[in-house]
């Protein structure tokens, strides 16, 4: 009741202030009249009575002001006034305002973008109940220390022995060809073990999970669809559950559709999920992604401890487990392993931009504050308290940062688009980014903090005015006070130091990218087109059928105009497929540790090396004589020779994948980077496709631009088999570009930010120099009149600037040396402490900064002594 009354009063005071004021005046007027009347009754004449009444009542304005204070809303009304005043001040100097707003926009925009991305990735990329209890499980090759996929048999033993996981599941990459919906299409999906969806705890949008009967091998063919696939390919038909779709020639019954936001971090996008085939590969096999949900209350370290113990027991029990351990990491950590360091660098760059922007605007405000000291002194003389003055100046800077934030949102939007384009597709970053309440809160907090950060110091300085001096002085003292200059210098040094750090980062990333692009991939990337085309085993039942198809396709493709050579293989560089085997060399003892005898295995047609552009180093390539029934032969690369036959002539030696066919090595080819442009070449063991007909890719070398043959290639394939899907159609250059997209984007981003901070800090330095020169005009004029030469003066100014630059650059160099570690995992071919970059960045910055100071230095030297001194 009382609160209601109080609230009504406050609202009335706030919004009907004029009415309340006039009532108050009326009330006091009434009081005054009564007093006057009483005085007249006591015998005074009218004039004296009125004066006496006034005297008795006291200052009307003061009473009214005291009453207004009682209303407790002065804070609001004063703020309104401050904002109006600040707005007028900002409009009065549009140059300063737009400069400050643009500067702050960069800082706020970059930070907003980083926050949005981080929030999206950390909070929304694991849309499951209690995502913190989800973990990824890897097999670890103890000697190499590398995390690898897990095997089914290992998984079973872990599942039986552990007590820390509530549920465990494993997945495998899967691809099928969809037919019956327009052109045949290659789909990417995931095979999942039992318990996968139960582990994640996500129900389908419609339909249901697989029953355990459906997941028994050979019982039933069932599939769950992704929301995207359901909408894209099935037109979001509501009656899809229970119907069948044809995948790679076999009908699969749809049991459900997953929700739109369902996602699982498998490092690829999934159109569907289906039960995995259980095949006993033994303990040697490592090809599945392992995942688990921890029991409530079990920490990840405890799980790791128990799993390590189990792995040690298994090492003793099974020979194939020898040398293998287990790694358990939370799913969130696994995600951050992939994208965390790029995000961290982005965040560091954004923070530096924000700090330099704040520093820059603060120095602008500081310089302005010194110029405004007279105005502020007048305000204080008229009764404004220190707090009131600080508040007024802070309102100005917060208003500035607010305007900056509005402009910054546009920049943030653009940066986020850029990041979505550069992030790996499986992160589905675009779908994660959204405007959340916490984002809005962050934006508001950031804006206020920026305003206070830029404005507080200048405001406190300004309010510490010495009234007498400031009022007496005509606005320009003989020398700028030492304290004022020192604050400005400190800001400039800080800005330069931060700019050096960012410039060093940019230098390191640029050098790293240059190394990546310059790296010898081992094959020619121009005029090379590859696409994926696998022959469904339902219709191409045996090796012969597959070879026959190729024998029909190959001559047709080769006879196209502009075609140089045509090849097929089970994989192409940067194509995303990979298979590896442990190797045995004839006449050598079998390796004690099979995992250490790994080599990539491949099957290729005879023109493959010519088509891809991998040079032959010794022996011969495959030829028409290497038929299915001829002697089994192989070609290895130089890395293979170095690993398995060091210092020997590999030709005519025999080797085989563990348990496979012995093959005679007939040729040696050059090394090539197969999986990643930044990865060094690994051992490779090639068999002729005729002897291992496992066709996945077609590669075409052309004499004309690749795009011009594509239409005819598609037509030929459609003519031979209309149900055959081709996918991943890319030129090799596109594959390389795609593989280097992340380092490119990061380099571009950090370099852009670095140039921005370079600009801001040198501009800030030049501004401060110009300001001090203009403040010292009379001092300089006096010096010149007393005989100092103009070049002396200019040199003194440059020397002054040089000192600041040197200090800033030195601090920055130390900072980059210390902070370089952040970049380590993102650098290729460059150490974070690369001497060239560490030295070049400060020097480059110093050069630009000195150039920027030439103009103020020149102005200092050309001060007109007589004119200046006459002003006195």
């Amino acid at each position: 009741m009382r609160l209601m009354r109080v609230f009504r009063q406050r609202v009335r005071s706030l919004f009907r202030g004029a009415q309340v004021d006039s009532e108050l005046a009326n009330e006091i007027q009434f009081h005054l009249e009564q007093l006057t009347r009483e005085n007249i009754a006591a015998g005074m004449d009218a004039r004296a009575a009125r004066l006496a009444a006034r005297r008795e009542l006291g200052g009307m304005a003061q009473i009214e002001e005291q009453c207004r204070d009682q209303r407790r809303v002065s804070w609001f009304t004063e703020m309104g006034k401050d904002i109006g005043y600040a707005w007028r001040m900002l409009r009065k100097s549009p140059g300063f305002t737009s400069l400050a707003v643009i500067t702050l926009a960069f800082g706020v925009g970059a930070s907003l973008a980083v926050y949005t991305l981080a929030e999206s990735l950390l909070l929304r990329s694991l849309p499951y109940p209690s995502p913190d209890r989800l973990a990824a499980i890897y097999s670890v090759h103890v000697l190499r220390g590398e995390s690898e996929n897990i095997g089914q048999e290992d998984f079973r033993d872990w599942q039986a022995a552990n007590t820390v996981f509530e549920r465990m599941a494993f997945t495998e990459f899967d691809q099928r060809t969809l037919t019956g919906f327009g052109d045949a299409e290659r789909l990417t999906g995931t095979s999942i073990s039992e318990g996968f969806f139960e582990m994640l705890g996500v129900q389908p949008l419609m339909g249901r999970w697989f029953t355990s009967r459906e997941q028994k091998p050979g019982v039933d063919r069932v599939v769950l669809l992704s929301y995207g696939f359901w909408v894209r390919k099935l037109g979001a038909r509501p009656d899809v559950v229970g119907s069948s779709i044809i995948l790679s020639g076999a009908p699969y019954r749809v049991t459900g559709v997953m929700p739109a936001n369902f996602r699982f971090l498998e490092w690829h996008l999934s159109d569907y999920w289906m039960p995995i085939d259980y095949v006993n590969y033994g303990h040697k096999n490592h090809q599945f992604g392992g995942y688990a949900r921890l029991k409530p209350g079990i920490a990840i370290v405890a799980a790791q401890r128990q799993m390590s113990e189990i792995a040690r027991r298994m090492e003793k029990q099974f020979p194939d487990c020898k040398g293998w351990g287990v790694r358990v990491v939370s799913l969130r950590t696994a995600l951050l392993d992939e994208v965390g360091s790029a995000l961290l660098v982005f965040a560091a760059a954004a923070l530096i931009v924000l700090l330099v922007a704040c520093g820059n605007v603060a120095s602008l405000l500081l310089a302005r504050g010194i110029g405004r000291s007279k105005e502020i002194a007048v305000r204080m003389a008229l009764g404004a308290g220190r707090r009131r003055v600080v508040r007024l100046l802070l309102t100005e800077s917060v208003l500035l940062s607010l305007l900056g934030a509005v402009a910054g949102v546009v920049l943030a939007w653009w940066l986020i688009r850029l990041a979505i384009g550069a992030a790996p597709a499986w992160t589905q970053l675009g779908a994660l980014v959204s405007v959340s309440p916490t984002l809005a809160l962050f934006a508001i907090a950031l804006t206020l903090a920026t305003g206070v950060l830029t404005g507080l110091w200048p405001a406190l300085r300004a309010a510490r005015a010495n009234l007498q001096n400031d009022l007496k002085e005509s606005g320009a003292s003989l020398v700028a006070s030492k304290r004022q200059v020192r604050s400005l210098n400190g800001l400039v040094v800080g800005e330069i130091a931060l700019a050096v750090v960012l410039l060093t980062f940019a230098g390191l990333l640029t050098k790293s990218l240059a190394q990546i692009l310059r790296a010898d991939l081992g094959y020619r990337t121009d005029h090379l087109l590859t696409f994926r085309m696998s022959l469904p085993s339902s219709r191409y039942k045996d090796d012969q059928a597959r070879l026959q198809f190729w024998d029909k396709l190959q001559p047709e493709l080769a006879s196209l105009p502009g075609m140089v050579s045509v090849a097929a293989s089970d994989g192409v560089p940067l194509g995303g497929t990979y298979s590896s085997n442990s190797m045995e060399i004839e006449g050598r003892a079998a390796p004690r540790d099979w995992a250490q005898a790994d080599s990539r295995g491949a099957a290729v047609t005879d023109d493959y090396f010519r088509t891809i552009g991998i040079p032959l180093r010794a022996g011969r390539t495959f030829n028409a004589g290497d038929t299915a029934s001829a002697e089994p032969v192989a070609i290895v690369n130089q890395a293979f020779v170095r690993k398995f036959l060091p210092g020997e002539d590999p030709l005519d030696k025999h080797a085989r994948p563990q348990g496979g066919t012995w093959r005679r090595i007939v040729g040696v080819i050059g090394d090539a980077r197969y999986t990643d442009p930044t990865q060094t070449a690994e051992p490779e063991f090639y068999a002729p496709l005729t002897q291992e007909p496992w066709m996945q890719f077609v590669a075409l070398r052309t004499a004309i631009p690749e795009a011009r043959v594509l239409g005819s290639v598609r037509a030929i394939i459609r003519k031979l088999d209309p149900a055959l899907a081709i996918s991943q159609v890319r030129t090799m250059q596109e594959s390389v570009d795609q593989a280097t997209q992340m380092p490119r984007a990061l380099m571009a981003l950090v370099t852009g930010f670095a140039l921005l901070t370079l600009g801001m800090s040198t501009f800030g330095l030049a501004g401060v120099m110009a300001y001090t020169v203009s403040r010292r005009k009379r001092e300089l004029g006096l010096r010149i009149a007393l005989g100092a030469s103009r070049s002396d003066i200019s040199r003194a100014v440059i020397g002054n600037a040089g000192r600041l630059i040197a200090i800033g650059a030195a601090i920055g160099a130390i900072g980059s040396y210390a902070g370089g570690r952040v970049l380590e995992s993102l650098l290729y071919g460059v150490r974070p402490h690369d001497v060239l970059v560490l030295v070049a960045a400060p020097i480059a910055l110093a050069a630009v900064a000195v150039l920027a100071c030439l103009a103020p230095a020149h102005r200092a030297g050309s001060v007109d002594a007589t004119a200046v001194l006459r002003q006195e």
Binding site: R2, L3, R5, V6, E27, I28, C67
Partner: protein
């Protein structure tokens, strides 16, 4: 006439609440009433009366209404609210505690 003594800090609120306990009064009337009831000993500082009234109104102890005064002119009349009456009782209690204590000190010292 001896100079009216200044009001003890904080007692002004109590006197105002007490003055309008029986009937609503305007500011001038409140000042007069306090002066008369105290036999001209207490004189409200005119300057502090209105801020005090304003405060009491803001706190919801009193409510104000514009009415015709006995002098034929519109004046702002203040009346106690229910919460104001309770506040008056609280202030009276604390005042009597204070004055008893002061008296005791004066008697026993």
């Amino acid at each position: 006439m001896p100079k009216p003594s200044d009001l003890l800090q904080g007692t002004l609120d109590l006197l105002i609440l007490k003055a309008i306990n029986h009937e609503p009064l305007h500011g001038w009337g409140i000042a007069k009433r306090i002066q008369v009831l105290s036999d001209e000993v207490l004189s409200v500082q005119q300057g502090s009366l209105y801020p005090a009234l304003h405060r009491l109104e803001q706190q919801g102890w009193v409510t104000a209404e514009w009415k015709d005064s006995e002098l034929g002119r519109q004046a702002k009349f203040y009346a106690l609210t229910r919460e104001g009456r309770r506040q008056l009782e609280r202030e009276l209690a604390s005042w009597s505690r204070l004055s008893t204590a002061v008296e005791q000190v004066l008697e026993r010292a």
